[in-house]
C-alpha cells in the first residue's frame, strides 16, 4: 500500500537527518503508524531545558488525513489540552488545512515552533491564552515551573 511506502521513506529521512532538537523512533518496530517523538524545549522559551515526549500517530488514510500529535509530557501551553490527552490540533494539523504533500518533518518543526511562539488566538486552553496575552510574566513562571516539574529528567 502506498501510504506505508511513503511513511517508511519519511521515517528514514527523519532518522537520518532529524530537525533541530527533535528525535523520532517507532513506538513499536512492527507498527509504522505510531511514533515516539522526543522534543527539546526551544531556547528562549519557558520550555527550554525541558525534554518533552510526544506521540505522533498516523491515520490509516495518511497522507490524505493529517497526523495527530499529542504531548505525553505535561505541558503548560495555550495550544495543548491541559488534560491527560495533551492533544494539539491547529494549523496544518487540521483536516481541512492539511496538504497531502506536507511531510511529517514539517509537522514536527511546526510543533516545536509552537513551543517558541504559542498561538493564543487559536488556543484550546482559553485561560492560558488569556494569561499569555495579559500576564506574560506569570505565564512564563508557570510554564517554567511545569517544565521543571514534568519535563526535566531527575537524574
Amino acid at each position: 500500500m502506498g501510504s506505508q511506502k511513503r511513511i517508511a521513506k519519511e521515517l528514514a529521512e527523519l532518522v537520518e537527518s532529524p530537525p533541530d532538537g527533535i528525535l523520532v523512533k517507532l513506538a513499536d518496530e512492527s507498527n509504522l503508524y505510531l511514533w515516539k517523538v522526543y522534543m527539546e524545549g526551544p531556547e528562549g522559551s519557558p520550555y527550554h531545558n525541558g525534554k518533552f515526549l510526544l506521540n505522533l500517530s498516523l491515520p490509516t488514510e495518511y497522507p490524505f488525513k493529517p497526523p495527530t500529535v499529542s504531548f505525553k509530557t505535561k505541558i503548560y501551553h495555550p495550544n495543548v489540552t491541559n488534560d491527560d490527552k495533551g492533544s494539539m490540533c491547529l494549523g496544518m494539523l487540521r483536516a481541512d488545512e492539511w496538504k497531502p504533500s506536507s511531510r511529517i518533518h514539517a509537522v514536527l518543526e511546526f510543533a516545536r515552533q509552537l513551543l517558541a511562539e504559542p498561538m493564543p488566538d487559536d488556543a484550546i486552553e482559553g485561560r492560558i491564552a488569556e494569561q499569555y496575552k495579559n500576564d506574560r510574566k506569570r505565564y512564563d513562571e508557570v510554564a517554567k515551573e511545569w517544565t521543571r516539574k514534568y519535563a526535566v529528567e531527575s537524574s
Binding site: 501510504s3 511513503r6 519519511e10 529521512e13 497522507p63 490524505f64 481541512d96 488545512e97 496538504k99 504533500s101
Partner: protein, 484 residues
C-alpha cells in the same frame, strides 16, 4: 473548518429553512450534494444546544467560553455526511429533470432540454472533490472509450513527464510518488482492458470508488495543477483574489477543497489539454435561456473526445451527449481562429499573458490591476487580436471569412419535423426505426428554439403529459410517428 466558516443559517433550527414549496421563489432546489443545505448530522449537533421547539437564532454572546470551545470542537470535527458512491454508474439525465420538477421554471425548462441533448449523466459525490473527480474520471473514461493502446501509452508517458513540474516547484519525489503510482495503475488497467477487448468502464468506476486510489489520483491531479499555476503565474494571478501561492496552498493542495473556475481552468490547461481532449461545461443556473449554457475550456479544435461537465452552483457531474461530440463545431470560444494547425502567435510579444479561456468564463471578473477594463466579461470575450494586430493574418485557411465573433449570427436552424419526444429522455433507438440525428449545433444557444423539447404547456401540471397531472399519461413515442 473553523466556527467562522459556517454559514449562519446552519445554526438556525432546521424549520427555518425554506421548504420545497418555497423553492420556486428563486432558491436552488435541494439536491443531495449541495453543501449549502443542512445536513442531518449537523442538526443533531445543534440539537444538543437547542431544547426542542425553541426557535431562536444562535447568539454567540450568550455562550460561555466552555460552550464556545465545545462548539469549536464540534465544528472542527464536523464532516458533511454525504451519501452515495464517489462516482456513480451512468444514469438517465431524466433524473435531474425530476429533481428540479418543482423548482424555478428556468430550471424545469433547462433540465428537460438537457435530458434530450445529454440523455445520460454520472453523478459525483459532493464531498469537496466532485470537480476534480469529474475531470479525472472523464479523462480516463475518454481514454478507454478511444480503445487506442498507443494513445494510452503516450498519455501515460506524458502524465509521468509532468513530474518535472512537481520537481521544479520543490515537491519531493518520495512524497508524491505514491500519487503518481496510483495514476499509473489506472493507465495500466486501461491498457489491459483494451488488450482484452473490454469497453465497459465498470473497472474505472470501481477504481474511483476505492478511497485510497481515488484520493491518490485526485491528489496527483491537484499537485500537477498547483505546480502548473506556480510555473505560469501570469496566466492566473489576475483572476485570483489572493496571492497565487496562498491560493494554491488553501484551495488546490488541500484534501477536500472544491475546485473553482480558475482552478478548473488550470487543471485543464496543465493536465488535460495536451491530451487533445476537449473539456466543456454545461452551466445549469437561472440565467436566461432555455438550455444550459455551454462553455468550452479547451481551445477550439478537432478533438477525439470531449469531457462534458454539468455544473450546478457548487457541484460538478459528468454528462454524456446524445451523439458523440466528434468534430463538434466550436461555438463559444472564438479566441483563436477555427483551426490551430499552425504555431501559436508569440505571446511573449505582449506585456502580459492573456488566458483567453479564463477571460471567456461568463461573469468571471477581471482584476482591475490587470490593466484592462474591469468590466464583467461579456459572452463574447474581448479578442486578444485587438492587443496584437498582426495576429489577424492568422485566419484559418479553411475559412474564407473570419469566424463569427458573437452568438447573434448563428447558421440557420435546421428544420426538424419530428414530434416532440418524451420529456425525460430520448427513446431507445431500434435498428429498423428511423434515426434522428441531431446536429450538435442544434443544441447550442439560441438555436435551441428549433429543439422539439418544449411545446406550449409542456411544463405545466395542467398538461396531461406532466407527471404531476392527476390524469398523468406519458407521451409514447412510436417509431412510425416520425414518418408522418
Amino acid at each position: 473548518m473553523s466556527l467562522s466558516d459556517i454559514p449562519w443559517n446552519q445554526f438556525g433550527p432546521i424549520n427555518h429553512f425554506p421548504t420545497r414549496q418555497h423553492l420556486t421563489s428563486g432558491l436552488y432546489p435541494q439536491h443531495p450534494h449541495s453543501p449549502a443545505f443542512i445536513d442531518p448530522g449537523f442538526s443533531q449537533i445543534s440539537g444538543t444546544f437547542y431544547p426542542p421547539g425553541q426557535h431562536s437564532y444562535f447568539n454567540m454572546n450568550a455562550l460561555s467560553t466552555d460552550e464556545m470551545e465545545t462548539f469549536q470542537k464540534l465544528s472542527n470535527e464536523f464532516q458533511a455526511n454525504v451519501q452515495g458512491p464517489a462516482v456513480s454508474t451512468r444514469q438517465s439525465s431524466g433524473a435531474i429533470a425530476v429533481e428540479y420538477a418543482n423548482a424555478d421554471p428556468t430550471f424545469v425548462t433547462k433540465t428537460s432540454a438537457l435530458a434530450v441533448t445529454h440523455p445520460l449523466s454520472r453523478t459525483m459525490k459532493g464531498d469537496g472533490n466532485c470537480g476534480w473527480r469529474a475531470v479525472a474520471f472523464g479523462y480516463f473514461e475518454s481514454l478507454l472509450g478511444l480503445q487506442n493502446l498507443m494513445q494510452v501509452h503516450h498519455e501515460l508517458v506524458r502524465i509521468k513527464s509532468l513530474n518535472v513540474l512537481l520537481d521544479q516547484t520543490g515537491q519531493q519525489e518520495h512524497l508524491y510518488e505514491i500519487f503518481v503510482d496510483a495514476t499509473e495503475g489506472v493507465f495500466n488497467q486501461i491498457s489491459e482492458a483494451i488488450q482484452n477487448g473490454i469497453q465497459d468502464e465498470t473497472f474505472l468506476v470501481n477504481a474511483f470508488n476505492d478511497e485510497y486510489n481515488s484520493n491518490a489520483i485526485i491528489t496527483h491531479f491537484r499537485l500537477l495543477t498547483s505546480a502548473w499555476m506556480k510555473l505560469n503565474p501570469h496566466r492566473y494571478q489576475a483572476f485570483l483574489s489572493l496571492p497565487l501561492d496562498q491560493y494554491c496552498a488553501t484551495r488546490i493542495d488541500t484534501v477536500r477543497t472544491e475546485i473553482d473556475e480558475v482552478g478548473l481552468q488550470a487543471l485543464v490547461d496543465g493536465v488535460i489539454e495536451a491530451s487533445g481532449f476537449a473539456v466543456e461545461i454545461m452551466y445549469l443556473d437561472r440565467s436566461e435561456g432555455e438550455v444550459v449554457t455551454p462553455h468550452l475550456l479547451t481551445p477550439s479544435r478537432l478533438s477525439a473526445a470531449t469531457i462534458c461537465l454539468l455544473y450546478r452552483p457548487g457541484h460538478y457531474d459528468l454528462l454524456y451527449p446524445a451523439e458523440p461530440t466528434v468534430n463538434m463545431e466550436p461555438v463559444v470560444n472564438y479566441q483563436y481562429a477555427m483551426t490551430s494547425n499552425y504555431s501559436p502567435w508569440d505571446q511573449g510579444s505582449l506585456a502580459f499573458d492573456v488566458n483567453t479561456s479564463l477571460m471567456s468564463i461568463p461573469n468571471l471578473m477581471m482584476d482591475p490591476s490587470f490593466g484592462m477594463a474591469p468590466s464583467p466579461m461579456p459572452a463574447a470575450p474581448p479578442s486578444p487580436y485587438s492587443v496584437s494586430p498582426p495576429l489577424e493574418v492568422y485566419h484559418s485557411p479553411m475559412h474564407a471569412s473570419p469566424p463569427p465573433m458573437s452568438l447573434a449570427s448563428p447558421p440557420p436552424p435546421p428544420r426538424i419535423s419530428a414530434p416532440p419526444p418524451p420529456m425525460s429522455s430520448l427513446p431507445p433507438r431500434s435498428s429498423d426505426g428511423p434515426q434522428i440525428r441531431l446536429n450538435p449545433l442544434v443544441m447550442k444557444n439560441n438555436l435551441c428554439h428549433s429543439l422539439p423539447v418544449t411545446t406550449p404547456f409542456k411544463n405545466s401540471p395542467y398538461n396531461q403529459a406532466h407527471f404531476q397531472n392527476q390524469d398523468f399519461e406519458p407521451i409514447h413515442w412510436e417509431p412510425s410517428d416520425s414518418r408522418r
